[in-house]
């Protein structure tokens, strides 16, 4: 491969055009005989060109590779045209289960169930059938439970390059006022309390698990 950036550019466009799934930059680099950094730079420039030319397609990085896809603005035109590949909506039970797997992976079915508070077998099965979750191995610990993680199809469905791009879970922790309200409600207790009351007679006596550390420690990923 020469240093001619025009040739690299054309090669990248051609390869991604004939691919049927995202092409890893490492593979492109190998095929075009340029560095991965060059590949990234070329792709960034191409994506910018398509944007500024207001093309009906875009070059995006999804699930660890580059691919062409239709521009979101053309949604109404392509949606009727393409039927296969459209995925049905997930139930909110399945979505919550998926969120747990996405943020806590790898983990076992039992761990998912423990977080959801209900049996998650059915939802996990649905997610596996839809190719969004897969078994990736066995827990090395006792019991060697099967461990699950999200798939590349999950990333593609969400338009993410990797799970690192998921919004931080801490953003979703309920606000302090919610936590306080919950805690007050759970802690309120009319019965004589054998544990020494704090001096101020607070209704929220939990000494070792106050709202501050309770919220942080419990939901931390």
């Amino acid at each position: 491969m020469t240093d001619d950036s025009m040739e690299a550019r054309r090669a990248v466009e051609a390869i991604v055009m004939v691919a049927d799934e995202p092409v890893a930059p490492g593979l492109i680099a190998q095929l075009v005989e340029i560095s991965i950094d060059r590949v990234e730079a070329v792709c960034a420039r191409l994506a910018e060109e398509y944007r500024s030319e207001e093309r009906g397609f875009e070059l995006v990085r999804v699930a660890g590779g580059y691919c062409f896809r239709s521009h979101p603005d053309a949604e109404s035109y392509v949606k009727r045209f393409v039927v296969s590949g459209q995925s049905a909506r997930l139930s909110s039970a399945a979505l919550e289960t998926l969120a747990i797997v996405a943020y806590k992976q790898p983990l076992s079915r039992a761990q998912v169930s423990a977080i959801r508070g209900v049996n998650a077998e059915g939802a996990m099965r649905t997610l596996q059938q839809r190719g969004l979750v897969q078994e990736i191995g066995r827990d090395p610990g006792p019991g060697s439970a099967r461990l699950f993680a999200t798939t590349p199809a999950f990333l593609q469905r969400l338009g993410l390059d990797s799970v690192d791009e998921l919004p931080p879970l801490v953003d979703f922790v309920p606000g302090a006022e919610v936590i306080e309200a919950l805690e007050a409600s759970l802690m309120a207790d009319s019965r004589p309390n054998p544990i020494p009351e704090p001096e101020d007679g607070s209704s929220s006596p939990a000494p070792t698990h106050g709202p501050e550390d309770g919220s942080g420690g419990v939901v931390a990923v």
């Binding site: 004939v18 691919a19 049927d20 995202p22 995006v60 691919c67 062409f68 896809r69 239709s70 521009h71 109404s76 035109y77 949606k79 009727r80 045209f81 393409v82 039927v83 296969s84 590949g85 995925s87 139930s91 909110s92 039970a93 979505l95 919550e96 969120a99 747990i100 996405a102 943020y103 977080i115 959801r116 508070g117 209900v118 077998e121 059915g122 939802a123 593609q156 469905r157 338009g159 993410l160 919004p167 953003d171 979703f172 922790v173 309920p174 006022e177 919610v178 309200a181 919950l182 805690e183 409600s185 759970l186 309120a188 019965r191 544990i195 939990a206 698990h209 309770g214 419990v218 939901v219």
Partner: protein, 261 residues
């Protein structure tokens, strides 16, 4: 603030802890003061506002109600003077555990909403999957790599699925109704590996009753064809479905009426 976040909608009531959270916050319920019966009453009132009955929610509620009763009773029972400090701490940690699970549940519920938004945004674009054109096909090392009999069947079902007529002004495509043949094909694919399965589990992720009807019809038909065995211990009881491993039926699905409800 809380009003907006916990606005009552059917989907809000999917997890027991979420329900509990809702009841506590929305109605300012003091769980240790209120009678459990009152919680049940308010729960039933909420159910009335739901669009349709969700049995899973109902049973989940029983679970959480039982937890509450347990917690409450352990508070109310007279304690001996020599209460073990470990026992007392256990009671504390029980409450903390409940709080922790409520918060964790709420966190993942919010996270799942974020995932849904991401998926909706990404779903506006369709990835190109055309692959190399004819000029390069003779170079492909293994043309059928990764393709098995089941993939051929799946491809056939895709190819014969009812296609929409091309036309503009698409309001929404997410509401594709299931057809009996799709469901039957799906069941034929899934059931052999599942052993005995309860009908309700098969349909737990469906949104509308008409979808459940379609599943039920598909099961009925497979039963009629002798492809599976069905049993129900009591009226309104669980319907157990077992694949008949010897069953074979080769007629294609093409031309089947699609029941679109």
């Amino acid at each position: 603030m809380l009003e907006g976040r916990f606005e009552v909608r059917t989907e809000v009531f999917e997890g027991p802890f979420d329900l509990l959270l809702h009841l506590i916050l929305r109605e300012e319920v003091d769980l240790y003061e209120i009678r459990v019966g009152d919680i049940v009453d308010s729960y039933l009132a909420e159910l009335d506002r739901m669009e349709h009955l969700n049995l899973e929610v109902a049973t989940e509620f029983l679970l959480i109600a039982a937890t509450l009763v347990h917690l409450k009773s352990s508070r109310l029972l007279p304690h001996s003077e020599s209460l073990d400090i470990d026992e007392e701490l256990a009671l504390w940690s029980e409450r903390d555990l409940l709080l922790a699970r409520l918060l964790e549940c709420q966190t993942f519920k919010a996270a799942s909403a974020a995932l849904e938004r991401l998926a909706a945004a990404a779903g506006r674009s369709i990835p190109r999957k055309a692959g190399p054109d004819e000029r390069y096909l003779n170079l492909v090392p293994d043309f059928l790599a990764g393709v098995g009999p089941e993939d051929v069947k799946a491809a056939f079902l895709r190819a014969t699925a009812v296609r929409p007529i091309p036309r503009v002004d698409v309001t929404h495509v997410s509401d594709i109704p299931v057809s009996v043949d799709e469901v039957a094909a799906d069941l034929i694919g899934r059931l052999p590996a599942m052993g005995t399965v309860v009908f309700r589990d098969l349909t737990e992720d469906l949104h509308t009753e008409i979808e459940v009807v379609v599943y039920f019809l598909a099961v009925l038909e497979l039963y009629k064809r002798g492809m599976l065995e069905v049993s129900q211990a009591a009226s309104f009881g669980s319907i157990a479905i077992t694949w008949d491993s010897d069953a074979r039926y080769c007629e294609p699905l093409a031309g089947v009426d699609a029941y679109d409800g």
